[in-house]
């Protein structure tokens, strides 16, 4: 007897199930409903259609001839309204009631639309079906489009439209693209590739509102106030199993329609397949498991034994021409280790995550040729202890002797270009070596090779090594830390020359050996990035030492010290009263007058910090940055205000300097002093910058210190006006910020670069002085503000324990 099968949804999964079923037993009477006015086509190929590489006809899986040949009754463009399980019927939108023996639900998934204000405007679409694709294809180089969502679908939509010349901006809420499939480093490379294609990529961007005009989308507004004009807005933020019909019929649903291993729902006559199902807690979006399900569906309908088993999944993708691969579990975890390989020149990144000498996960970008080999090892749980050293290079490097990198350089022809910036070939370098340039510095001086961006430094050294043989000793420059072979200077040169504006960018382009750095390199990188790219780079509190993260000095017992700023060492009764009140209120055990002319409240508990700051803020006081690599104090004497020897207003000048410089981050701490006469009561001559007032003007000294080393300042300049003092001090501080190694005090910086070098740039070249001042001011437009007030406002909660179990544990 012919059995009646009704299928709801003509997608790829139900289509495949139908193929399997009718091949084995063509005797079924099949009715196929589809809400879309067409049959089964390959949704995965919508991207090539969008990009113009394929047409809709190319991606049709079942055409009308196929349905006819197989005797399938097609009801396309028709929805099923209800399922009556007791009567075993479905009711179509036009009122037709159809009986079934078996019902297969393949309703797929629905795109998730963020309920932003304006989400129902015209021109706000998802990326799901042919209609969406056609709308996107109607965009031209005269149009702007915003895509919300930096996952696979969003990026394919963006790239497809960008290929048509459309001005596309991708807005992604997370810190890096495709965060489910990729780690931060691979996400960085992908972002770079998209930017190269002319796509604007905004990460960590929160959408706030869709702005419309006459019912049509006009712009997307972000929560920081940025407005992105657009003619079309594509939301590609995820999909949800489409369970509405199934749920209304009363069968069991969770996130998806519950099915057992035979793909049968809680009703024995109803099966489900595809993106709408939930099996053992999992829902599915990739095609491979859906096709496995389709096989099981067909067998179950035929009355044969079959079981759907979830398999390990890998994702191998080509997003807009960029090869990516991820598989297994690539999170850090208990007893896990990373092996990281980066080839900055080729834009390649590979990371293996090992547990007990077995690869448990991998992320690859740029070169995925060996991905199957790695995936095989993940599935087989291959013990890799014997090839640990070379496994990351892939199968080609196993079993033989490890490759000698020098051999490759030795084999290069003489005309091979080594330094791209300056067009220097290997032959030029060898010639320079033969004429007596036997170290890197000499090569740089003779040929300029590696003198510009520095990327080829390693190659130049290898040319030296192969040419000189044993006579060449690799320089023992101290690398920044164990994560890299590069020195602070190399890294900083790369940050500037390659315009590296994020930590992920630095770690990739400089070939970091770890996935997220360490406590030595991260604070340094954070400083270099914010000093060199104040506008573009976002300060990363998690890469800061605790004192700078919590804006207070940690003490040996884990409590903190709080030092409010006293501009130029001047205070008043109100401030002192507020400090006294705070000391009482928060049980501050020690109150001390510091050497920097202000008051230190020692022994404040971490959770009290926001509250004590709030009280001090209320009395008009701000953070003294006594904890920072930044401006600490400007110590002054009373100058002409009161002193009979004073020659200038040293207090007033000190306050002006402090108000200009406070809040700025520097490589190490910076202390200033302004003395009103050569008697030097403010001890200005042992400060990083010390000003001694004289009758005829101001003597500025730099590079003093009174710490581990005691240094007297070196005479830097003598100027006549307060304005010149300000400009010289600010310009010199900026020079230090731009060039010094992290954690070098000013005197060390001067020792390395030379006092004259500094004077040329700050004193002699007035244009350069102005440029330095301007760059300092740009940075200060972001950083010259009270971090205490900000934390009281936004972060007070983070200073408290996240949970309190003292009651729980006492029970």
């Amino acid at each position: 007897m012919t059995k009646k099968l009704v299928i709801i949804g003509a997608g790829m999964a139900s289509g495949r199930a139908l193929e399997h079923l009718l091949k084995e037993d063509p005797d079924w009477d099949v009715t196929l409903f589809n809400a879309e006015p067409r049959g089964n086509y390959d949704r995965i190929m919508l991207s090539p259609v969008l990009a113009g590489d394929k047409s809709y006809e190319d991606i049709v899986i079942h055409d009308s001839a196929w349905y006819e040949e197989n005797g399938v009754t097609c009801r396309f463009g028709e929805k099923v309204e209800t399922i009556d399980r007791a009567a075993k019927t479905v009711t179509a939108a036009n009122g037709d009631v159809l009986e079934y023996d078996k019902l297969l639900i393949g309703t797929g998934s629905k795109p998730f639309i963020i309920p932003l204000p304006g989400h129902d405007l015209d021109g706000v679409i998802a990326y799901r079906d042919l209609e969406d694709t056609e709308l996107m294809m109607s965009m031209t180089d005269q149009n702007k489009v915003v895509v919300i969502g930096g996952g696979l679908l969003g990026l394919e939509a963006a790239a497809g439209m960008a290929a048509r010349g459309v001005d596309v901006t991708v807005v992604h809420i997370m810190g890096h693209l495709m965060e489910r499939q990729l780690d931060e480093a691979a996400g960085y490379l992908l972002r770079k590739a998209l930017i190269d294609k002319g796509i604007t990529v905004m990460c960590s961007a929160n959408s706030k509102e869709i702005v419309g005009e006459d019912g049509k989308v006009k712009a997307l507004m972000l929560d920081d106030g940025t407005e992105l004009p657009c003619d079309l807005l594509v939301m590609a933020v995820g999909i949800r199993p489409n369970v509405a019909l199934a749920e209304a019929s009363g069968i069991a649903v969770g996130r998806g329609i519950h099915v057992d291993d035979q793909m049968i729902t809680s009703d024995e006559n109803i099966l489900a397949v595809g993106e709408c199902v939930e099996h053992n807690g999992a829902v599915f979006g990739l095609v491979a498991p859906l096709y496995d399900q389709a096989k099981v569906v067909a067998k179950t309908l035929l009355g044969e034994e079959a079981t759907f088993v979830q398999k390990d999944l890998s994702t191998k993708l080509k997003v807009t021409g960029c090869d990516l691969f991820s598989a297994g579990d690539f999170a850090e975890g208990e007893g896990r280790e990373d092996i990281v390989f980066r080839d900055p020149a080729r834009g390649v990144y590979r990371r293996l995550v090992l547990e007990d000498n077995v690869i448990v996960g991998t992320v690859m970008y740029g070169d995925t040729a060996d991905s199957n080999w790695f995936f095989g090892m993940i599935k087989d749980k291959t013990d890799i202890s014997d090839m640990r050293e070379t496994v990351i290079f892939g199968p080609a490097y196993q079993g033989g002797a490890p490759q000698d990198p020098l051999a490759a350089v030795a084999a290069l022809p003489d005309d091979a270009e080594i330094c791209g910036c300056n067009g220097i070939s290997k032959g030029d370098i060898v010639a320079a070596i033969n004429e007596g340039a036997t170290d890197l510095g000499a090569i740089r001086a003779e040929t300029k090779a590696s003198g510009s961006c520095g990327t080829c430094t390693g190659l130049v050294e290898q040319v030296l090594a192969t040419t000189l043989g044993d006579a060449f000793v690799m320089p023992t420059a101290q690398p920044m830390c164990g994560c890299t072979d590069m020195t602070h200077e190399d890294v900083r040169r790369m940050i500037k020359s390659q315009e590296l504006k994020s930590m992920a960018a630095v770690m990739q382009e400089c070939g970091w050996k770890t996935s997220c750095g360490c406590h030595v390199c991260r604070p340094a990188l954070n400083y270099y990035l914010l000093a060199d790219w104040p506008v573009e780079y976002q300060d990363d509190p998690q890469s800061r030492f605790i004192n700078e993260r919590k804006h207070a000095n940690i003490q040996k017992d884990g409590t903190f010290s709080v030092v409010p700023r006293m501009w130029g060492g001047i205070t008043n009764a109100n401030e002192l009263r507020a400090i006294a009140d705070a000391a009482d209120k928060f049980d501050v055990p020690t109150v001390k007058v510091t050497g920097g002319q202000r008051i230190d409240l020692l022994g404040v508990k971490g959770e009290d910090l926001p509250a004590i700051w709030k009280d001090l803020n209320a009395a008009g006081m701000v953070s003294g940055h006594a904890y920072s690599k930044g401006l600490r104090t400007v110590k002054t004497c009373v100058g002409t205000d009161h002193c009979r020897f004073g020659t200038q207003d040293s207090t007033g000048l000190g306050i002006k300097l402090e108000k200009a410089l406070w809040g700025s981050w520097t490589p190490h701490k910076v202390k200033l002093g302004v003395s009103g006469c050569p008697r030097n009561c403010a001890e200005a001559t042992c400060k990083d910058i010390g000003i001694v007032c004289v009758d005829s003007g101001f003597e500025i000294g730099v590079g003093g210190a009174a710490g581990m080393d005691v240094k007297e300042v070196q005479a830097f300049a003598k100027v006549e006006t307060e304005q010149e003092v300000m400009d010289v001090c600010i310009a010199f501080t900026q020079l230090y910020r731009e060039h010094a190694k992290y954690l070098d005090r000013m005197y060390k910086f001067i020792d390395k670069f030379g006092l004259e070098w500094c004077q040329e740039r700050v004193i002699d070249d007035l244009e350069n002085r102005k440029a330095l001042v301007d760059r300092f001011e740009l940075s200060q437009s972001i950083y010259r503000k009270d971090p205490w007030a900000e934390h009281v406002e936004d972060k007070a909660e983070t200073y408290q324990p996240v949970a309190n179990l003292t009651l729980e544990a006492a029970e």
Binding site: D183, E334, H519, Q542, P801, V802, A803
Partner: protein
């Protein structure tokens, strides 16, 4: 039998950071790595009792803010030349919530 208790949302702990949970026997630091793994350790360095929750988190390690001892978050063992171990407690993430094992937290003194 372990008894999991809900401590906080995963988002309450910054990536590459930590927050503290108060217990009757002192504080436990709950860490979150760059890849959203969570770990719970005593918030006290065996060297000079530095508050580990305030340290810099890198990979699955934390550096003590007082004297830069580095600990493996999974095992609690000091890395490199330093010797010492911090007690660890079972922790996991479920549906975006951080869970700790209450049984083990209560047994802290005995353990």
């Amino acid at each position: 039998m372990s008894e999991w208790i809900d401590i906080a949302a995963l988002e309450d702990i910054p990536q590459r950071g930590a927050r503290v949970v108060k217990t009757a026997e002192g504080c436990v630091a709950v860490f979150r790595t760059a890849s959203d793994e969570v770990y719970a350790l005593d918030n006290s360095c065996p060297h000079k009792q530095g508050p580990l929750a305030e340290g810099i988190v890198h990979g699955a390690s934390v550096t003590c803010p007082l004297h830069n001892w580095v600990f493996d978050l999974a095992t609690g063992e000091a890395q490199g030349a330093d010797e010492g171990t911090v007690a660890t407690y079972p922790a996991r993430v479920e549906a975006g919530r951080v869970l700790l094992d209450a049984e083990r937290l209560r047994g802290r003194v005995a353990a």
